[in-house]
Amino acid sequence: MSPYLITVLVIVGVLIAVGLYRVWAGPTVFDRLIAVALVSVNGVIVLVVLGFVLERPVLFLDIALGYALLAFLLPIALGRYFEERDDGTSRDGLPSPSSRPRPTGVVPHGLLAERGRREAERRRARADTDAPSYPHPEDDPDDEEHSPEDEGQP
């Protein structure tokens, strides 16, 4: 029963409450899910430290490992479930994010501006050499499914 570990336990417990506020207030469902991921990591820490406080670490480490395993499946499955469909519908009850109006007056500066300039130069060089252009990676839903010979072409 070390007081230091009990202090750690109390602090992480308060942090779980703070993470639950983000679960309650998150504007989109992905904010809530990311907050759930953080809360589950904090829960693993609470379980392990509680095992050390009660001086039975083996028992609580088993529970913590099981909790971590189950908490791994949740964000992957739910993130896949709430991802927007190809026809523009999503299942989070809100209007689909890509159908919301984009903010106007957004100016890229700093790193983003440099990236945009380099991207433009690359595209212009590609257009000069008249190479067949492939679609922008953000517009291609299957950009990870390139066969290796696609990658070799300029």
């Binding site: 028992l59 490992l65 099981g66 499946l73 896949r80 990870e144």
Partner: protein, 146 residues
């Protein structure tokens, strides 16, 4: 829409990497139920996670080859049958339902008999939970054959 290869290669690799270890941990929880936390139900849940994680992350041809669709109802039925038979065996020796101490086999003490009976019942419950959860997932994904 939820089954099939995950579009991100990171999740595919990590899912393929971790699911055998989740299966191993589920077997450990089932077999370790009388000493530590867990038991049949929790271990069956972990086994089901080890079967569902490939279905969410890996290609369908591979995932449904690892744990086929008909495997879920089969394992659920086998698990419940194991539980029932293991509970009925002591009644032939004059005991109550699930009263393993009443089983008299030469060379095995009553306490040892209780240990073995609890282990077999835990395995049955684990298989039943595994089959039920995989079947629920397949029905929700419109993959069930019945």
């Amino acid at each position: 829409m939820m089954t099939g290869a995950y579009p991100s290669v990171v999740v595919r690799v990590v899912g393929a990497l971790l699911s055998p270890f989740i299966l191993l941990f589920g077997l450990y929880i089932v077999a370790h139920g009388h000493y530590g936390p867990g038991g049949g139900f929790a271990g069956g849940g972990f086994l089901a996670v080890a079967a569902i994680l490939p279905r969410v992350t890996l290609p369908e041809s591979l995932a449904y080859k690892l744990v086929p669709v008909h495997f879920g109802p089969l394992m659920g039925g086998v698990g419940m049958l194991l539980f029932l038979l293991c509970g009925l065996v002591p009644m032939f020796f004059g005991g109550m339902f699930l009263d393993y101490g009443a089983v008299e086999i030469a060379g095995i003490a009553a306490s040892r008999m209780r240990y073995l009976g609890i282990l077999v019942v835990e395995i049955g419950v684990g298989l039943a939970v595994f089959g039920a959860m995989v079947t629920i997932f397949d029905v929700l994904m419109d993959r069930s054959e019945t």
